[in-house]
Subunit: 581 residues, 2 copies
């Protein structure tokens, strides 16, 4: 196999086109080995094999620098830069992440996992090169729906100001994670169907030079195109048309399903682990479908990740105009939700905790200053959420809960979650965010409140004395365990509290606790800094009440084991009780 002899990009430069094509096949077998056993971004990687080979053939990494957008298409790049073991040897799977990582290789320049950042990051590399009088090509790769993201569009617009070498490879596979959304994709289609000759051209309209390659999986044609732009003295777009999932028939046919995939049988494409039982994605979808059918003014919104709340293609069709996928455009989504609410509609916008980070200003300015009653569903906001450093869901409490006017709710079980969601959709007074539970679907027989308009009213779920445990959201069950353990060990039942509201404190209840409690413990599923517990610590700051805040340390985690992290942060009920006693 050629791949066995490739330790650096230099090693592919002596191969001829036919050999490179064989190499592409070998790479796909490596991709298949890792992805079928471990899961990951299948479609993006399978589609970008030839382009990556051609890039490394023409350019000289790391002197020439590649910046991959999202970097979920970088597996071939990893294989060609000395990391092929992590694809062919199962015991080395753990050596590499699913994204570029400067800690792994001198050929990776950034830890990247969010969309739409490559052009701006690469503009920085180009500017740095020019300031220091250095040489080399800077190549940003972008595609897969990322173009519609505000950061990417800002970057494209700015790139035209560079007066030196800068190459943007637009990997156009006619897809986002789901189908593309937005007018610019019509222009990409026009460009594809006119072989790049259509005079109305988004990239030229942004002030950039432009070239088109129709066969983005043809190594020879790609090499030819990249050679033409190598060492040029101005910014250029190379628009290449690739086939997402190329080389694996199920992925070519069902692109959305195979964008990211769980482990599967390579022969049949069948999932190895099939999910069973309830999940909040499907349940949220069912709930919203019912609401939408009953009320034409309810509208569900997503930003390119519809399946995070269960909206598969059939559900999207069924919802019709009451379902809006804005594409990768989270800022737009939040502002638009504010507008819909202002007009009397009832918008629910859902995305991941990590992706809400794009919308801090829109939540504060467009939504909360205007107090419009939109609902934000914050998904995978938990230590149990996504485990890559670029997708952590543990920062949303400090980010969102300190914004005035926002009501941020933390349900503790399934019934409470849907009661909160229902209340939020039907009320017309507050912008509301709901932290979707992330600890499995837990049911309760205890009736839950249906009205949450008495803001910041915590709920005592077990009355006791001496110790009060305030257990937020999906760490409520942890609080229950701690309460049980405390009663066992101390002989006194503690008070257990479901605070429900992340955005404020129940001063009356906290005041009352002073009467027969000397210890308050807070537990939250996120970093402590700027979070929920610190507000309780501040409240009791000048009192004799002893306050212990439990949550996560402020740090970046990467590919972690949740239970290990919980232990390191002393978050098991035994650890907490030991600390206090």
């Amino acid at each position: 196999m050629y791949i066995e002899k490739i330790n650096s990009p230099r090693d592919i430069k002596s191969l001829n086109i036919q050999q490179l094509e064989v190499l592409a096949d070998e790479i796909r077998s490596g991709l298949m080995n890792r992805l079928s056993k471990r899961g990951g971004h299948l479609g993006p990687n399978f589609g970008f094999v030839e382009a990556t080979i051609a890039l490394h053939y023409v350019f000289d990494s790391p002197k020439d620098k590649f910046v991959f957008d999202v970097s979920h298409q970088c597996y071939t790049h990893k294989m060609l830069t000395g990391r092929s073991n992590a694809f062919f040897s199962d015991e080395h799977f753990g050596d590499v992440s699913g994204y570029t990582d400067p800690g792994e290789s001198e050929h990776d320049f950034f830890n990247v996992g969010h969309t739409s950042t490559s052009v701006s990051l690469a503009c920085g590399l180009a500017k740095g090169r020019d300031l220091k009088g250095e040489q080399g090509n800077i190549i940003a790769v972008i595609g897969d729906g990322s173009l519609s993201g505000g950061e990417a569009l800002e970057g494209l617009d700015f790139a035209a100001e560079l007066k030196s070498n800068f190459i943007i490879v637009v990997n156009d596979n006619d897809m986002s994670i789901a189908e593309n959304h937005g007018g610019l994709y019509r222009n990409l289609k026009e460009l594809r169907s006119s072989d790049g000759k259509c005079p109305c051209n988004l990239f030229r309209a942004m002030g950039l030079d432009y070239t088109y390659v129709s066969c983005g999986n043809d190594i020879a044609r790609l090499i030819e195109a990249f050679r033409k732009v190598k060492d040029t003295d101005h910014p250029t777009v190379v628009h290449i048309n690739t086939l997402k999932g190329k080389g694996f028939e199920p992925a070519e046919t069902h692109k959305e399903e195979w964008h990211w995939h769980m482990p599967f049988d390579p022969a049949s494409g069948a999932d190895i682990f099939t999910g069973s039982g309830e999940n909040y994605g499907d349940m949220t979808c069912d709930f919203l479908m019912k609401k939408m059918k009953a009320d034409r003014s309810v509208v569900t919104m997503v930003a390119a990740v519809p399946v995070c709340i269960g909206f598969t293609e059939d559900k999207r069709k069924e919802a019709g105009s009451q379902f809006v996928d804005v594409g990768i455009a989270e800022e737009h989504a939040v502002a638009m939700a504010s507008g819909i609410a202002k007009a009397g509609g009832k918008p629910v916008f859902a995305t991941h905790s990590s992706f809400f980070q794009r919308t801090y200003d829109q939540i504060l300015q467009d939504l909360c200053i205007n107090s419009n009653p939109a609902t934000l569903l914050v998904n995978t906001a938990s230590v149990y959420g996504m485990h890559d450093i670029t997708h952590l869901g543990i920062y949303d409490i400090p980010m969102m809960s300190n914004i005035p006017n926002l009501v941020y709710l933390a349900p503790t079980n399934c019934e409470e979650y849907f009661a909160m969601l229902d209340w939020s959709i039907e009320q017309s007074r507050y912008p509301v965010a709901i932290r979707m539970p992330c600890n499995g679907v837990i049911h309760t027989d205890v009736p839950v409140d249906t009205d949450y308009s008495d803001i910041n009213r915590y709920k005592i779920t077990q009355s006791g004395s001496k110790i009060a445990i305030i257990a937020l959201g999906d760490f409520y069950q942890r609080g229950e365990e701690l309460a049980k353990l405390t009663a066992e060990k101390t002989g006194t039942a503690p008070t257990l509290i479901n605070p429900r509201y992340i955005t404020g404190i129940d001063e009356e209840l906290l005041e009352q606790l002073k009467a027969d409690h000397s210890i308050v413990i807070t537990i939250e599923d996120g970093i402590l800094n700027g979070g929920f517990g610190e507000k309780i610590a501040r409240f009791y700051g000048a009192d004799s009440m002893r306050v212990y805040n439990y949550g996560l340390k402020k740090e970046f985690l990467d590919r972690y084991d949740a239970e290990d992290v919980l232990k390191e942060n002393h978050l098991t009920p035994h650890q907490i009780l030991d600390d206090i006693l």
Copy 2:
């Protein structure tokens, strides 16, 4: 005067073109009256008089709905919707804000002050209208550099998906606050010079219908154009070429200087109040100019507000390629700064606290996960910063200080500020943000540290006992006053601490304080929730130390008096001491 008889937009519909032109002159006299005495956005309002008259003449507000971007061009709209008193009667100046405000009028739909939001907000109004089966035109107005902002570009891209009436008026005055930046403005120029006929068209490339009006200050031509798009069934851009500052010669000539202006003499254009003495804008510019001359790898970056750090046109020219104005594109700026730092450059990006809100995700993902040593200068981050609800500088501590890896510094005087800035530029380990002082230029004779690499090391500036005062950043002087007062009233000198680091706590020092202190007071210039003091409260949560956190309440303020707000929050030294004793 016609304007005296106009109480609602209906009242202008009976006027003929000549009368409307007289009305425009009257409106300019109202603008001049208010702006010359009170200051405000001069250029944007003078340039948009005719377009606003034509919009209200053709459309039927509030059934037809206008959403103004930034809304700093909405003064004529205010005059035509029953608020002309606030322009002609000096005693009524305070009746209106400088932006649209639903609290003022049914013709205003959003409190808006940040750029690039109108298209997305208006998309929401359009979607809400359609969901509810209502009628009416939705018109988003955008221009003045706002098009380059990511949120606007996301909105433009999405707008093409609407299948109903939606009108985007692009107010093209060939300017941002300073000159425009970005490739798309070249396309606007091509469109202007081809009378809108150039086949490469950004708006068409975004999937939108398009029409061009060359004379954007000609009421008759504008009326004609708006009539053509009224009640159309799909999204359309009306690109109008206006003259910024039209009708006031100094503003037509010096567009940047007159974008926003302090009170002035209407005859000569001369400023009424001339600034004297030192200011951090000019001093920061001088400092950075020296750094840049000494080191070619230092680069100053701004996003359309160069003068906030003193970079007037002559200074920008002098700095040459070491000065980058990315235009309104804050997300891009932070990501690009990360890239420059990665490439070995030394970037300093400055903007207002309120505008950094656009970049939460870029600070966390593009910059801090990658630990690249870029410097962020956070301006007007204070209760003494900008006083409009949309421009408040009191939320940056909770937003930024809880992001891992970031070192956020709070200088307490001029010498410390520049020492921190110098250290930050020269170090290569941390992403650093610096909270520019906002309480006047205060000097010190006490030598300041030059090395801040021993992260989270607080500085005891006065040793005492019983009470420790931790006074952050530009509230340090407030801490000094409190210390003096405390010594006077209690007979015991307290300890005074300059914490310097917002992003972490000095556990060793806080531990030591336990020996001979029973009270810790924190004082910070921002909201308490998620802020600095709460971290101190958490540290001492389980101890007997009494902790008092002083800062601002979590709320939206609008056009406030800073001293009143400080009193309401018990932030005067006398109030603090009274609380504690």
